[in-house]
Symmetry: C2
Subunit: 298 residues, 2 copies
């Protein structure tokens, strides 16, 4: 996987629903007991989650599950003892988001060719112990719903001093979305695309882990691949396809793309469809960056 | 550069002082004017800063400059138009921290062999415009001192929507510290080693950029290379050097190291020197992880 994230528009993805996936535990105390039992039996819990990035109007958005209209979480879950991280994450993403194998969408768009492309590990979070789970727990909130939120507050992006046996390690992985995909969402959850600017500096709403995602992604250049159909069907311009990437992190690269465009009619070189597709990169903003080649005479 | 950060103890580094490096501008308004002039002349300002990591008692610390007992900044500065990022960062780190070429320390420990090892880009920050510099500026604070702090608050780890011409892009690079080095600090600054746990969740004191460093580093495994002299000179144990890394992020790996140790005297297998060197990884904490090989008979 290259170091560049290819961003496809949110509208490329099809969302359907599947059976509910209820919480494993009826209460927080039952969950704590299960975690403690598992730790004694299997050692440190390993959790993997995926950061799925798309764009809307050129701005990167993260696909997140919302449970019971309350807290947000990334798709993923804990691994079985000895299970491989990458293969395990693919299985968890399938469990959470793949259309059921007996559904119509399964055959159409989700098969072996539609594997998940797991990229870099973006961050690791460590849970020092189970006991502190409860410290900031607000009993006035419904237990199961906010457990994960407060649980995230008890994790750190390093192993705190004096902790030699952390109880859980959670890894966040970048997931490169394909151009199109059907995502089936359990009925008790919603899948939402949250823009980076909403997550940034918003630990109060999203917790320390999700609000840090903009930081974690900032190192990656993003490109918005130009859809082939658009490039060739627009009557307004012909694109030299050697160079088709524009980064929302680096609008300067638009000039590089457009310098490879042979402009037929400068007055209308950006069609309405193009503008809709590319969002904020509208005509007025693009113009000052343009260094078009002279129109060809034939 | 590998994906693992080798952490050397803070006590390995020698700190001296050199001539003061005063602010370029006498006031915030003068600085704003200079930035605006430079933008008009040269386009987007590019800034590079280094994240220098050491450890103290096994916990990673970041080397930061503190100016006038007030705000903190990473070593680094803006680049000249066209200047290469990596070479430019090395030059800025030398300007800020290398002993002057006519000093005694220069010959002893800082020469061409003592180049800076620049690693991954950890994050990018974008400044949408100069105008908003002032929005959160508190005039009751001394102008030049807090300028950089508030300036950092006006940068984002993505390009905000509707911004097509950001005014500055700042890149943070990981810098792998060598085992030992002399660092000469300008007299008007202090160089401090700030622990990750102090930075984490502390944007109020360190601003949004510095407080995010623990997130940015969490993906990297860290090792504390065992000093050769210690490994061979300790009368308490002989280390099989094939495996000498212990990660403060993964105390479990200590058991791997120690399983390669042939223990001569289990009662004293960790000398006082070893314990001092390794900080929190003391005897009582280590013992349960030990799987020592049987002592050899010769």
């Amino acid at each position: 996987m290259s170091n560049t994230i290819a961003l496809y528009p949110l509208s490329n993805f099809t969302f359907s629903t599947k059976e509910a996936q209820p919480e494993e535990d009826p209460s927080v105390s039952a969950r704590l007991q299960r975690l403690q039992n598992n730790y004694e039996d299997f050692g440190m819990r390993r959790t993997v989650e995926g950061v799925l990035v798309v764009h809307d109007h050129g701005h990167p958005h993260i696909l997140m599950l919302q449970i019971a209209n309350a807290f947000f979480k990334l798709p993923g879950d804990y691994l079985k003892p000895g299970e491989d991280e990458i293969e395990g994450l693919k299985r968890r993403l399938d469990e959470r988001l793949a259309p059921p194998s007996d559904s119509r969408q399964f055959n159409a768009s989700h098969g072996v060719d539609n594997d998940w492309e797991i990229g870099d590990c973006l961050a690791q979070w460590w849970r020092p112990n189970f006991e502190t789970f409860m410290v900031r727990f607000d009993p006035s909130l419904r237990e199961a719903r906010c457990f994960d939120y407060f649980s995230a507050c008890m994790q750190y992006p390093f192993i705190p001093a004096h902790i030699t046996k952390p109880k859980e390690c959670k890894k966040l992985f970048l997931v490169q979305m394909p151009e199109r995909k059907v995502l089936a969402v359990p009925k008790n959850m919603k899948l939402l695309a949250i823009p980076l600017f909403e997550l940034y500096d918003n630990a109060a709403r999203y917790g320390p882990q999700l609000s840090a995602i903009p930081h974690l992604l900032s190192r990656y250049p993003c490109t918005i691949p130009l859809p082939l159909s658009l490039a060739f069907s627009s009557a307004d311009f012909i694109v030299a396809l050697e160079s088709v990437g524009v980064s929302p992190f680096n609008p300067g690269s638009l000039s590089e793309v457009l310098s490879n465009v042979t402009v037929i009619d400068t007055a209308h070189y950006l069609s309405t469809e193009f503008r809709r597709q590319w969002g904020v990169v509208g005509v007025s903003r693009v113009s000052p960056l343009l260094h078009p080649k002279p129109p060809t005479s034939d």
